[in-house]
Symmetry: C2
Subunit: 230 residues, 2 copies
DNA sequence: CCAAAAGTGTTCTTTATACACCCATGT
DNA sequence: ACATGGGTGTATAAAGAACACTTTTGG
């Protein structure tokens, strides 16, 4: 049974993923209900042991795919958690990632497997196992810091979005209110949004224009020293 | 000999440290000459296997102490490198840290052991083993990004410094030139420097005032939402 | 016609940038 | 006396912050 032997004791290594979504003007996190001990039936971040033939990033993508059936979304290494007793069983080091997904895509594609994954509003979280609350706090802190200087907010919205959705997103994540006119001017002045010429439909008010984020243009400008900032 | 057996195969886990110093107006990194195979006598970042009773941060501090005899300096987790073949022997995952040390302190205290550690100017590096060049690039990128928004530059200077030293530091790390008057005004307006009432001595020109960074005041202001920015 | 969200400009304040000369000290 | 780096102020441009009304649409 125990076939892998080493000269020195080794910690186990896992990968955990903080998967953020945004819907109904609130920030959400995907949690899974543990199916095994320890802490069976408690909520946890999706994760698993790293495989010998995969990088940590591969592992994080594998977990993302398993839980959401999504691939190719924004994903970034968050931090490596190595407290000696973070797992009651044995020494386990966790390399944590955070991902930003377009929640509508997920809702369309997932639901076809029976893992008990569920979206939780960031302000209505259950208690989590191990040090997962700490990991989640770290992820939120990172997201909050990063969204102002990199155009990652768009990763949480559908491809076409209206400016008020983008503003809602910033307001929720940064926990501030932003002046509508100043926000719109600032975003539009960057010239990173493509006007799709479409409008939202069937709303009981003036229909909003829909925009797309121009990733190619952003990449171009970045090379020339442009810095995104909200 | 191989006494530690597990049900599943496990990667080994190491900690590597990118230790930055600043002297003679240039940024330096501490490298060690490897004493063992593989790559014996090649230059590498200081590092070692993580111990079962220490966190990664403890490990990084242990390595820092071993190589420089310093403790309590600025240290922060950088990134975890997990490419499958980054080490030719076997799968080794490295949790990398970066540290900022006051190089003068080091020169005063170290030299009492015979490890072949040596400071290299960042622009005159030898080639490094494994993926250590990648780790170093990652560290420099992080340092460059971070120094503008957190007062970590002071960690590289002696306790008392003159403004031109601080400016040199920013110019070297950011790879730009900065207007002297604008720089001085910006730094002094923050009111985070304490005028020590001392001046440099024995220089063939007007003696510069010496300042200290007021960490307590910075911590206070941070709590109230102040953001350091150069 | 009413409710609900979209869309739009101007003024004022703050911050960033560009720029050149005199001062103190040791040799 | 001279070479070296220290120290200082102002004017202009750019960016940020504050603020209220009209428009479009479905019910």
């Amino acid at each position: 049974m125990k076939n892998f032997c080493y000269e020195y004791e080794r910690p186990a290594v896992t990968v955990d993923a903080v998967i953020f979504g945004f819907a109904e003007a609130s920030l959400k996190v995907l949690l899974i209900k543990r199916g095994i001990e320890p802490f069976k039936d408690k909520w946890a971040l999706p994760g698993g042991f790293i495989q010998m033939q995969e990088t940590a990033e591969d592992g994080a993508n594998r977990i993302l795919k398993k839980e959401t059936n999504l691939e190719g979304v924004f994903m970034e290494q968050l931090y490596t958690f190595s407290a000696v007793n973070r797992d009651p069983r044995e020494r386990i080091i966790s390399i944590a990632y955070f991902a930003l997904v377009k929640q509508d895509d997920y809702q369309a594609q997932a639901g076809d497997d029976e893992t008990s994954a569920e979206w939780f509003e960031i302000n209505k979280l259950p208690s989590l196992v191990f040090d997962h609350e700490k990991i989640l706090r770290t992820a939120m802190y990172r997201l909050k810091g990063k969204i102002r200087y990199q155009p990652i907010g768009f990763e949480l919205l559908t491809d076409k979005f209206k400016l008020s959705q983008l503003q809602d997103l910033y307001e929720v994540i940064l926990e501030t209110s932003i002046d509508k006119r100043n926000f719109r001017r600032k975003i539009l002045q960057m010239e990173l949004l493509i006007d799709t010429e479409e409008k939202e439909k069937n709303v009981a008010h003036k229909a909003a224009k829909l925009y797309k984020f121009d990733k190619n243009k952003y990449d171009e400008l970045s090379k020339k020293g442009f810095n995104f900032e909200i």
